[in-house]
Symmetry: C2
Subunit: 422 residues, 2 copies
């Protein structure tokens, strides 16, 4: 470092203003009007004394339009071609944002992921950021320019453009915040923040002020798609505070931070009710119980690349056992066919299935220290007349499997019972 | 070179098939249907035993749409932002072409100008190619892949994306052909080739089979915009044969080559009649003649960045002279105002002007050795009843200034008189 610094004295400059990474999603850059709104937010952050660094997504439906073009050519586009094609969407956003800022006298510089030093592995279409060679970014910030970085993309060491997978502009933002030791990372989107339940299902849902990385990850795993899961992992590992907020209003958003940084809260220790209707259940009935039974059932599914979720196995009666599990609905038919084959091989009595089930979960780090959350959940569902068809838990989550028809009713009852209503 | 080769033995590989650079313009890639037609032409060239190397323009009106987006942001976009924005159009074309070729089992690789090694100076928006670092291209060709290179763009040595100016994908193609020592360079466009006159003006115009670089440059300077002038200069300097042909049919096109390679032709030595209606004329009348007069008139125009074309100064009578010149119509008002100011300063009697004039020219290398072309032209126009308001000549061109109203009539008469009619 010292040797290099001799030739680059600018790296000794003391950075006086904290870096704020601002990420604008597709809906926040959908048209010229939205782009101008984003410019206003960047201006405001600069006026507040931050050095803004921007991560930009492609405008609105650009990415879909590009994929559709390829489809019209009967080109099953993948690999480097697909990455290069899709990477252009974010570059357009960056150039426009930079031009608009420069035109307003706010010096900015548009950078592709590659130019910003985002180095990834070679997994085209789902590349992982290995590191950010942030020297260029640091010198732009030191020179008083606002770097506008194309999200969702980088380049392999061989210099080929890669993409991080859809929605991964969040990951770009967090990686930039980590590399630049940012004050925090602000994710602008089309919702106000993260809610204690899906407001479409639970009208009394309210915005959560603070939530931990672990809680968000549990919610993401359950299908609540506010933040890209990998970006939360990276943020958690590097303790980068994130604020998720709307670019359509100036309401405060939701802060995602380390559990030990979150204000001590009163209440039940339950942060949110999470629903997931994308579930199908398969049960193998009357299997002769013997060692290796679970392996026989699940190995064929793993070979078919089917993810299995909630697994319930009852205790053996007279040498016979039942094994029940859930899969995503898109995998239902394939999983059912594979399981029927297995059932014959292992001498099971029958296979029953239901493609219309749902998962209802309580999530909250406070649950660890709050006894009786699980019992309270089972009681509440029983009072509401909802039958529980399976249960799984983690340290900060309890999940019940129920019939899909009862999902809204159950979510509302739990939201009220655990004191989450607004 | 030897030292480098020791570490890159692939550069010793003997290339067995000749390289053919194929350039597809915007209309030839306007939609998926046209892109598939281009794929067919590339397939055909490969089947004919060529190693194709492609230079691709942006699809149809993409570039205009991008500029329009910037305009909606009130961003007077220029410099690096503009170049990065516009460069995405060609990258999209390249990725689509490459994907479609790969999907059809024809290995291809899409390359930005930067990835293809096109190094330019730093003049954003009108950069000049300094050289092509063709190692990557050569290794792709040697490996049997078809490089699809984004036209119109490169990168400065500092690594910033630059563009060559509009229409300059032709220049990219010629630079690639030069660097790869290509057999020739084929420019696909929406016209069949280069014509002996504008067919809209002269119905008897016919396609020219062969034409020299010098002739095309004279025609381009006169406003006949078939090929980008700089690309012809580069091709001429490196003796790269060019074929201009249509991607909409399989008609043979026009070959552009060195004069000494062109078949000896019979006829008048006149290759084409070229019209240009984008002309306005300004005359300073009754100027006291003295040394430095021309400088006084033209220096203010040069300062205003106005190009002056046909200049006519008559011989002084009684110490007074007239100076007449033409400008492009878009510069007319500015030029007139500047000249009126000058006229007062230098004591001229008056300034007259006419924004509705036109240039009519004969072009042909054979004219050098064919006496009487100019005289024949003046005679033909006189017989047609057209007044000549100014004359300029080069070795291979005679240009007459006439009233715009007479342009079509004059062009047809000259086309017939010089034996060019189909």
């Amino acid at each position: 470092m010292l040797t290099i610094s001799l030739f680059a004295p600018s790296s000794f400059l003391v950075q006086t203003t904290p870096v704020l990474v601002m990420k604008f999603g597709g809906t926040s850059l959908a048209d010229p009007e939205r782009i101008l709104a984003a410019i206003g937010l960047i201006d405001q952050a600069a006026d507040e004394g931050f050095s803004p660094v921007i991560a930009a997504s492609a405008m609105g439906k650009t990415t879909d339009a590009l994929i559709d073009l390829a489809r019209q050519l009967d080109a099953d586009i993948d690999g480097p071609d697909r990455d290069l094609l899709l990477s252009t969407g974010e570059v357009v956003s960056c150039a426009l944002l930079s031009a608009a800022l420069n035109a307003r006298g706010r010096p900015a510089v548009a950078l592709t992921g590659q130019a910003a030093g985002i180095v990834t592995d070679q997994s085209h279409g789902r590349a992982r950021i290995q590191y950010v060679a942030a020297r260029r970014l640091r010198s732009e910030v030191a020179a008083g320019r606002i770097p506008i970085v194309a999200g969702f993309q980088g380049a392999s060491r061989g210099g080929r453009v890669t993409t991080l997978g859809r929605g991964a502009s969040d990951t770009t933002a967090v990686a930039l915040a980590t590399a630049l030791d940012a004050d925090h990372c602000r994710i602008y989107t089309d919702v106000d923040g993260i809610y204690s339940a899906d407001p479409r299902l639970v009208p009394a849902a309210r915005k959560i002020a603070q939530i931990s990385y672990e809680e968000i990850l549990e919610m993401a795993a359950l299908g609540a798609g506010v933040m890209h899961a990998r970006s939360v992992e990276v943020a958690g590992r590097n303790r980068v505070p994130i604020e998720v907020r709307s670019s359509f209003n100036s309401n405060p958003g939701t802060w995602i931070m380390h559990a030990d940084q979150i204000d001590i809260e009163t209440g039940a220790g339950v942060r949110a009710v999470v629903d997931d209707a994308d579930v199908a259940q398969i049960t193998v009935v009357g299997v002769p119980d013997r060692p290796g039974l679970a392996h026989s059932v699940f190995a064929p599914l793993a070979e078919d690349d089917i993810s299995v979720d909630v697994i319930v196995q009852n205790i053996s009666h007279q040498g016979l056992s039942d094994i029940s599990f859930t899969v995503q609905r898109s995998d239902y038919e394939k999983a059912l066919a594979a399981t029927q084959l297995t059932a014959r091989e292992i001498g099971a009595q029958q296979v029953t299935s239901d493609p219309q089930v749902a998962k209802l979960s309580l999530v909250g780090t406070g649950m660890v220290s709050t006894p009786g959350v699980a019992a309270g959940m089972f009681g509440c569902l029983a009072e509401t007349g909802i039958n529980i068809r399976g249960i799984t838990t983690s340290e900060i989550r309890v999940t019940c499997l129920i019939g899909e028809a009862h999902l809204a009713k159950g979510a509302r009852a739990l939201h009220t019972a655990f004191g989450l209503d607004a």
